[in-house]
């Protein structure tokens, strides 16, 4: 068992309270600790990715409990890829926040950022559906704090909408999980996959209802129509670096959907069938359309960036909804691209609107801003990436999506909406750019100098962070060949579901770590196994008793209706 798997969760979880308790008023110390932690997370994530590329999925049994009774963390290529993406984005965001002075407008930016990363990393690593809910809540509660960082009445009011929307989503998540548990008797994703695959297609109405509820939850996170209403207001009013970090939050929804609906409820499984794919595609297309039209109609820069995020989620979910290896590859490439591109756009938007003084983010002519040429060049590059024009990776991403959907029955719809949506996005961004940077008013002679609200201590760092993300996009374009080859391997591993399931089933507790679970086993073995031989809804037997634990577990994987009743032996 590789203990590094839990490091991306434990490191920020330990550091955040230390930041709050010991470095509360020392901004230098906070910044150093925060950046060091994120760099360490990036290194760990890269190491995990390299090891995941070479090995089958690696499983970490929390508390040394045997799966599926305990919670497992699983690092496979997809999870490791998301970890690397999150850490990369977080590094740029924290550098930008330091450079622009955003982290000084409240005391707890860095602590909240660390908690947010803990939640994100945990959500990508976990192999347990209820644990996924817990990590969702961790990342959400940190995001509530980050969203209203800096205060202000408009931000607070937008924050309430965001929190209320996500609390309703969390309730839905619990309803979905309870329904799935009542049908399958397990919350472990691999175990659930094995049980769902073995279910007869008849009499699965409750299972389908649970899976449909779950897709709604991920649609809330991923801002899929008709559950996208929280996004524009939230992104417009969140501080710039936080909005950039939120670019990966919507992708958590996409990740969770890929994970659950490729692993547990794929279209080829008889019990659930292709219903989800059929429902997801129209929703994704409408999302894309609404996002593109919103870009065209937005009257402020933050809102415009928010609608490009919705449009990119639409494109992403179009690829996800195909559930074929080629489409999943396109989805992953586009996911990486749109996370980075969305973040760049939000950072550039923040650079722009904080230099415009009273005009703020409104798309109206205003006097030229300081460092206009540089900001305009960055905006131009970010717009090209977001709209999906050559030469940046957005073009390749959309090309992959179009190519992967060529044989789909709905291909004419998909192609026309993606292409028209790209055109609308392009027009909207071009119009915004020309209003902001070309139609500038002459600077009034007697006016006071156009000061930003508070002095930015190191604007060079802010520009470097933004340009660094753009450099990542260039790298993603130049190295598209190796990247897609690696992603093809990831997708291949993802669609061979048995690898993941077997890895979790075969994970065995570490020998010799005596933590007292053992004594309970004797009694459990006699009472539990004699009355309910196949079930074993009891504390996991540990080390010494492993031999008789294994048959009990494998028996519980071969699903039959009697087994379900035994799972709830109260009946």
């Amino acid at each position: 068992m590789n203990h590094w798997i839990i490091a991306p969760v434990v490191l920020p979880a330990l550091l955040a309270p230390i930041i709050v308790l010991t470095m509360r008023h020392d901004f230098v110390l906070k910044r150093v600790a925060s950046v060091a932690s994120i760099v360490a997370q990036l290194l760990i994530a890269v190491a995990l990715l390299l090891s995941a590329m070479a090995n089958p999925p690696d499983v970490y049994l929390l508390g040394n409990w045997l799966a599926p009774y305990g919670i497992v963390l699983v690092v496979d290529q997809l999870a490791a890829l998301m970890l690397v993406l999150t850490a990369t984005l977080a590094l740029a965001v924290v550098l930008y926040a330091i450079g622009s002075g955003w982290d000084r407008s409240g005391l707890h930016f860095h602590a909240l950022l660390q908690f947010q990363l803990m939640g994100l990393n945990g959500a990508f690593l976990t192999g347990d559906a209820f644990n996924l809910f817990v990590f969702f809540e961790v990342l959400l509660i940190a995001s509530y704090g980050l969203m209203i960082h800096g205060g202000g009445k408009k931000r607070l009011r937008a924050g309430i909408q965001y929190v209320a929307y996500n609390l309703a989503g969390s309730t839905l998540f619990l309803f979905a999980l309870a329904t799935l548990y009542s049908v399958t008797g397990t919350l472990n994703m691999a175990d659930m996959a094995a049980k769902v695959a073995a279910m007869p297609p008849a009499d699965t109405a409750l299972l389908r209802a649970g899976a449909a509820l779950l897709i709604l939850v991920f649609a809330v996170k991923g801002a899929l129509v008709p559950l996208q209403f929280w996004l524009p207001d939230t992104y417009e009013n969140a501080p710039g670096p936080v909005a950039a970090l939120f670019a990966v939050m919507t992708k958590v929804g996409a990740y969770a959907m890929i994970r659950m609906y490729v692993l547990v409820f794929p279209p080829q499984v008889a019990a659930t069938g292709g219903f989800f794919a059929d429902a997801l595609l129209p929703a994704a297309l409408v999302t894309l359309a609404i996002g593109s039209v919103g870009v065209l109609g937005a009257r402020s820069l933050g809102r415009l960036a928010g609608f490009t995020a919705i449009a990119s989620m639409g494109t992403l979910f179009v690829a996800v909804s195909q559930f074929t290896p080629a489409a999943t590859l396109a989805a992953l490439y586009y996911l990486v691209h749109s996370t980075l591109a969305g973040a760049v756009l939000f950072l550039v938007a923040d650079l722009t609107l904080r230099r415009r003084g009273l005009a703020g983010g409104r798309l109206e002519p205003a006097p030229a801003i300081p460092a206009q040429g540089l900001v305009a060049a960055l905006f131009f590059a970010a717009a090209i990436a977001t709209a999906g024009m050559p030469p940046l990776s957005g073009f390749l991403g959309k090309l992959l999506v179009l190519d992967a959907t060529r044989d789909a029955p709905a291909a004419p719809w998909i192609w026309s909406i993606i292409l028209i949506g790209s055109l609308l996005t392009m027009v909207g961004l071009a119009r915004a750019g020309s209003t902001l940077f070309w139609k500038t008013l002459p600077t009034p002679e007697d006016a006071p100098p156009n000061q930003p609200p508070f002095p930015a201590p190191a604007p060079a760092l802010a520009f470097t962070a933004t340009a660094g993300l753009l450099a990542m996009l260039v790298a993603l374009t130049v190295l598209a060949g190796p990247v897609t080859a690696a992603l093809a391997q990831t997708v291949d591993a993802l669609h061979h579901r048995s690898n993941y399931v077997t890895a979790v089933q075969m994970a065995r507790p570490v020998e010799g770590a005596d933590d007292g679970h053992g004594q309970a086993h004797g009694a459990a073995g006699e009472a539990g196994l004699s009355t309910a031989p196949a079930k074993a809804a009891k504390p996991p037997p540990k080390t010494g008793a492993q031999t008789d634990a294994a048959p009990a577990f494998s028996a519980s994987l071969s699903f039959d209706p009697a087994d379900r009743d035994l799972a709830h032996a109260g009946q």
Partner: protein
């Protein structure tokens, strides 16, 4: 007992859904709380309803109740409690800053609105 529990979940969910569609923060928060009560009861039902059975397997016990939903409910209660505290504090802050407890943000644009 099934009919009692099912109607309780249904009633709480219906009332909660109605309340979160209101336009002021207080009813919305009450609605979210009702929804979380509903889901807590619902999670209990996912382990099937039993009365008077131990959640732990002991010697001689023929039947037992599923302990996992109880652990899940406990987690859900703690999380929803924390979340409710957060949203109460945030709405209080928003009310004190802006003098209104309306949920929607549509209002005449104010120039200082975008400043951090």
């Amino acid at each position: 007992m099934e009919i009692l529990l099912a109607s309780a979940v249904g009633l709480l969910t219906a009332a909660g859904t109605y309340l979160i569609l209101r336009l002021r923060t207080f009813p919305v928060i009450v609605g979210l709380s009702l929804l979380s009560y509903a889901v807590n009861v619902f999670i209990f039902a996912s382990g099937r309803l039993t009365i008077g059975h131990p959640p732990i397997i002991t010697k001689g016990a023929i039947e037992y109740t599923d302990p996992l939903p109880q652990a899940l409910v406990l987690t859900a209660i703690v999380i929803s409690f924390g979340m409710t505290a957060v949203i109460v504090m945030m709405s209080l802050g928003a009310f004190l800053e802006s003098g209104t407890d309306r949920i929607d943000t549509d209002e005449p644009e104010t120039p200082e609105g975008d400043a951090p």
